[in-house]
């Protein structure tokens, strides 16, 4: 069993993952990270305030960062306005 810790940073604060979770492969780690980011973004967007300045750091038990995801890279935004 290998535990990976998902820490959420926003430049000032860090929300530490006290528990970690057992994931089998790098692919599973990448998938879980993306799901985390998209889930938080989607729920925040319902509140009307999305923070794309978050970053998720996934660390192994020794504290080494094995994967990192900027929320900005988790979704593609199509910006623009329909002309009046």
């Amino acid at each position: 069993m290998t535990l990976y810790y998902f820490h959420l940073r926003d430049g000032e604060d860090i929300l530490l993952d006290p528990e970690g979770r057992d994931l089998g492969s790098m692919e599973a780690i990448r998938e879980a990270t993306l799901r985390e980011a998209r889930s938080i973004i989607s729920s925040d967007s319902l509140e009307g305030k999305v923070k794309l300045s978050y970053r998720l750091d996934v660390e192994d038990e020794s504290g080494k960062v094995v994967h990192r995801l900027q929320f900005e890279d988790a979704v593609s935004l199509q910006r623009g306005r329909v002309p009046e």
Binding site: F6, L8, P18, S39, I40, S43, L56
Partner: protein, 253 residues
């Protein structure tokens, strides 16, 4: 011996001494211990006996194709895992122990006998089953209408009420062996999202989580955060302000 089933059912029904004794015998016959993560019942299993949780915590769950798990309900002491045995052939979902969990194992025939003999038990078990479906309806509302904070606050407040009923919420502290992942599986959130929401609830001084114990610091505040309406638990004795069994939970509903 403590009998959480009786503590729960007497929120609805009044039992005479003899009936109470029968209920106590029911849970004292045979017990089985389940290790954390062990299945108490597996999806597809044909149920011949009824499992009543006496201590610990269990969860009804369903596994999806891609290995994802949805937890539909938590079973605390006094809850019955598989009353459907009388009507349905096999389990359409699994029940797993979240921590070491002790169940009373009662042959279906014994319960059948009791049901014929004690009409108040029939009514009480029916009440309990109806209330279980009402709890499930709340989970539907969770997914349709409640945000992350409301969902978790709602679950915590509900657990507080349910543990109070069975007299296991001293100082508003309840056993809480769940991991963030398990909370995520039950609320349809993701673990980091759960972690962030728990942090908010802690910072608002509504709860405290320490060493597998959840302490509700501000029940009224948590209730407001959850927009909790206790009517679905059908605690009629407490609602009517009756004295006695209802005292355990009166201030929360």
């Amino acid at each position: 011996m403590r009998n959480p089933l009786r503590l729960k059912l007497e929120q609805y029904a009044g039992f005479e001494e003899r009936e109470g004794r029968r209920l106590d015998e029911l849970v004292a016959q045979r017990t089985q211990v389940f290790a954390p993560k062990q299945d108490i019942l597996t999806e597809g299993e044909k149920v011949k006996e009824i499992h009543i949780v006496l201590s610990g915590l269990a969860a009804r769950y369903k596994l999806l194709d891609e290995g994802e798990r949805q937890i539909m309900a938590f079973l605390i002491p006094g809850d019955i895992c598989d009353l459907e045995v009388f009507v349905l052939e096999e389990m359409d979902h699994g029940i797993s122990a979240m921590t070491e969990t002790v169940c009373a194992v009662v042959p279906a025939e014994t319960i059948k006998g009791l049901l014929t003999e004690m009409s108040c038990l029939t009514q009480a078990l029916w009440w309990s089953t109806m209330t279980d479906s009402a709890v499930l309806r709340e989970r539907i509302i969770d997914h349709g209408r409640r945000d992350a904070r409301e969902r978790i606050a709602h679950l915590f407040y509900e657990l507080l009420v349910r543990y109070r009923i069975i007299d296991e919420a001293k100082d508003n502290s309840i056993p809480f062996p769940l991991t963030q992942e398990e909370l995520a599986d039950s609320t349809g959130l993701t673990p980091v999202h759960v972690n962030r929401t728990l942090k908010q609830l802690r910072e608002d001084r509504l709860i405290e989580l320490k060493g597998r114990v959840l302490k509700v610091l501000d029940p009224q505040g948590l209730r407001r955060a959850a927009r909790f309406n206790p009517n679905y638990l059908h605690l009629r004795k407490a609602e009517e302000g009756l004295r006695g069994e209802a005292d355990r939970v009166k201030d929360l509903v």
